[in-house]
């Protein structure tokens, strides 16, 4: 979209103004994320650039906040928790979600709209309401004294429920371009439905399943409201620890953790992007 050769001076000025405006908006989007990274190497316990940092004096920089994460049992514990809870809930959400998406993509399924509405409801209901409701219910499910609050099982189940809509939506979208004749071909060649699933369907929808799984993982990995309500001290995750850090004992260690999380999200973004392109290529949509 270059300036057309017939553009007058007003249009030209507007064109550059518009580009400038867009640049400013992009800076608004990305700057808050980038600013954290250099600050996490601050040698002083401040949340802002010190004169030493601005003059690029090596003395102004240090890795002490990263060392702080490694030497702090609470942070290490919360990192382990985040991965444990994230992976466990992703496995539950992805397995159930993929099966359901396969069912939903069949035209024979009765009451499809209603089922879809129920399945994606965890995504629509505001988190604070989900968290409150789950806290009430999990502390005494069906009136029994078998409390799931303050247990790993409880947090994992809650996070799995929150993650399933993303898997259902992503995998269903992948299945839209799925050629049903491949299943018929496989069946006619003598494969039973389990073999067909693992040898024919699964390899083709795998990118969708993986990106759905990543969405579910990020949902759990980034989730703090349910953890605030349901988890005990033992189940503290990274976001919960950051929450405590921001509210109680503010220190640049949080910035170091934030930097690590930004690296992680960059990797996740790249993975999703590659999978999406592969999926579109398979469907014949090319750039």
């Amino acid at each position: 979209m270059a300036v057309p050769s017939y553009a007058g001076p007003v249009e030209r000025t507007w064109y550059y103004l518009y580009r400038l405006m867009c640049a400013a908006i992009f800076i608004f989007l990305i700057a808050p994320i980038l600013v954290v990274i250099p600050l996490s190497f601050n040698a002083e316990p401040y949340f802002t650039f010190t004169p030493e940092m601005l003059s690029f004096d090596p003395k102004g920089y240090s890795l002490r906040w990263y060392a702080d994460i490694i030497n702090n049992d609470q942070w290490i514990h919360s990192i382990k928790n985040s991965f444990l809870i994230g992976i466990a809930s992703t496995v539950v959400a992805t397995t159930l979600g993929t099966l359901a998406a396969l069912g939903l993509s069949r035209s024979e399924l009765p009451a499809k709209r209603l089922i879809m509405a129920v399945l994606i409801s965890p995504m629509i209901v505001p988190l604070i309401i989900s968290a409150a409701a789950m806290f009430f219910f999990y502390s005494a499910p069906f009136g029994t004294s078998f409390a799931l609050t303050q247990t790993y099982t409880g947090v994992i189940l809650a996070h799995a429920a929150l993650g399933t809509p993303f898997v259902v939506i992503t995998v269903t979208a992948t299945l839209v371009g799925f050629d049903k004749n491949l299943i018929r071909a496989s069946n006619s060649l003598g494969a039973d439905s389990v073999t067909t699933f693992f040898r024919v369907i699964m390899p083709l929808i795998l990118p969708g399943v993986i990106s759905g799984g990543l969405f579910a993982f990020v949902t759990s990995f980034d989730e703090v409201v349910v953890v605030l309500f349901m988890a005990g001290f033992e189940q503290r995750t990274i976001p919960r620890q950051m929450w405590a850090g921001i509210r109680e004992q503010i220190s640049p260690t949080i910035l170091a953790v934030a930097t690590l999380l930004i690296c992680l999200s960059t990797i996740l973004l790249a993975t999703i992007e590659l999978l999406r392109r592969r999926n579109e290529r398979l469907r014949g949509v090319t750039y």
Partner: protein, 421 residues
């Protein structure tokens, strides 16, 4: 067809001799069941782990067992009281007996907490009466109870107990709408100093609308740029939108604290440039400004992406046609291009509004005193004041609003068209 079925030998059959119609019906049924079996595990999981808790919470917002559980006999006798003067002697006798029952201590404590929502003072009245009720062992009980606390001689106290006795109540909802029952059971406004929730709901709606408009104003230009640039450049810039989208919410909130604090990066820069002096640093965080800035940043990708996906499908030929027919660029853009982006604007707006209206984390961390929204009060009643009935009622009202908006979203965009990433 009718002719065919008349003669038995001409009915179409499958290889094993079953009529084709029957075989088809059976196959269809089997397919239906198969499809359902695939969906069933997740459906059951979501129902048990999510839908039932929500329904359970909704039930809690009208559930009112406390008074009934603590003093059942008194409540039963109080039913026949006409509400004038004081209840008859047997009611006082039952109350004295039930309050002195040591095994019901915790029930009476809960009843005190419940009645305190209606009228503060009940908790201390009940605590005091519970300690001394065992001294009132013989009549006249009325005088005995009034001797413990003169409040027992007030008609309004008894009326409140009578009104709060039924096992379901709307009083939490009334409370959530700044209303309450007066002593005659009429719905009246709360005293002025207790009216916070209607104002809070209105404030939450205004903030969500504000965030929505800010998101739209900021997203429209860049979505247009992304959609009109060549794909390779556009995809590169799209990463600048997607990276914030994938970055942890708490990281982004932390970043805004770092930037906006009084000793933060922006204030430091402004002081260094000399626009403001060191004493007059701008308060940009821990107030409404901070909430709106951070929420706009966090929710912007939800506006950019739907806009982008709609704009991507609009052919540039329409604009060219408008220009060639003599429209100046502005007219062409407003009259030809913008109307075509309405679906994207609608989808993004509703999505951002839905997300904003239930936002909790960001206002809680950067909102300070006046940046708190309805979600923060739900959390407050869940965790601090422990008025769970009120938390549930506030949640139910919020949920109703969100579901209505969602229904609208479904009408405009269709849930099936929801795209991620």
């Amino acid at each position: 067809m009718a002719q065919m079925t008349e003669t038995a030998d001409r009915i179409l059959t499958t290889a094993d001799g079953t009529p084709l119609k029957q075989a088809l019906a059976r196959a269809t049924r089997r397919n239906k069941i198969r499809a359902f079996i695939l969906v069933a595990p997740l459906l059951a999981f979501v129902l048990v782990s999510f839908i039932i808790p929500i329904v359970d919470m909704l039930a809690r917002s009208v559930d009112n067992p406390e008074v009934q559980a603590a003093i059942p006999e008194t409540v039963a006798l109080l039913k026949d009281w006409d509400g004038t003067g004081l209840p008859p002697e047997p009611v006082f006798a039952a109350l004295a007996k039930e309050l002195s029952d040591k095994s019901k201590r915790s029930e009476i404590g809960r009843m005190g907490a419940r009645l305190n929502y209606e009228d503060s003072g009940f908790r201390s009245l009940l605590n005091k009466s519970q300690r001394r009720a065992d001294k009132v062992t013989s009549g006249p009980y009325k005088e005995g109870m009034i001797a413990i606390d003169a409040d027992w001689g007030k008609t309004s106290v008894w009326k409140t107990i009578q009104l709060t006795a039924p096992s379901t109540t709307f009083s939490y909802y009334l409370n959530a709408l700044d209303r309450t029952y007066d002593e005659n059971g009429n719905i009246v406004m709360q005293p002025e100093w207790k009216q916070i929730y209607v104002h809070l709901f209105v404030k939450t709606i205004y903030v969500s609308l504000g965030v929505r408009i800010a998101c739209l104003l900021l997203s429209y230009p860049i979505a247009y740029l992304l959609a009109t640039l060549p794909a390779s450049k556009g995809n590169l810039l799209l990463i600048l939108v997607l990276l914030p989208f994938w970055t942890s919410l708490l990281v982004r909130t932390t970043s805004w604290i770092v930037l906006l604090q009084t000793n933060g990066v922006i204030n430091d820069t402004l002081v260094w440039i000399g626009i403001i002096n060191d004493a007059n640093r701008i308060e940009m965080i821990y107030n409404m400004t901070g909430t709106i800035i951070a929420m706009t940043h966090i929710l912007m990708p939800f506006m950019v992406l739907p806009l982008y996906s709609v704009m991507k499908t609009i052919s540039p030929n329409y604009m060219r046609a408008a220009r060639s027919l003599g429209a100046n660029p502005l007219v062409a853009f407003v009259r030809v291009y913008m109307p075509q982006t309405i679906p994207g604007v609608g989808a993004g707006s509703i999505l951002v509004f839905i997300l904003a209206i239930g936002y909790y984390i960001t206002p809680a961390l950067v909102g300070g005193q006046d940046g708190q929204l309805i979600s923060n009060f739900i959390a407050y009643h869940m965790q601090k004041s422990l008025n769970w009935g009120l938390a549930a009622a506030l949640g139910a009202i919020l949920l109703a609003g969100v579901l209505a908006l969602y229904w609208l979203y479904d009408r405009i965009v269709g849930v099936d068209n929801m795209k991620l990433g």
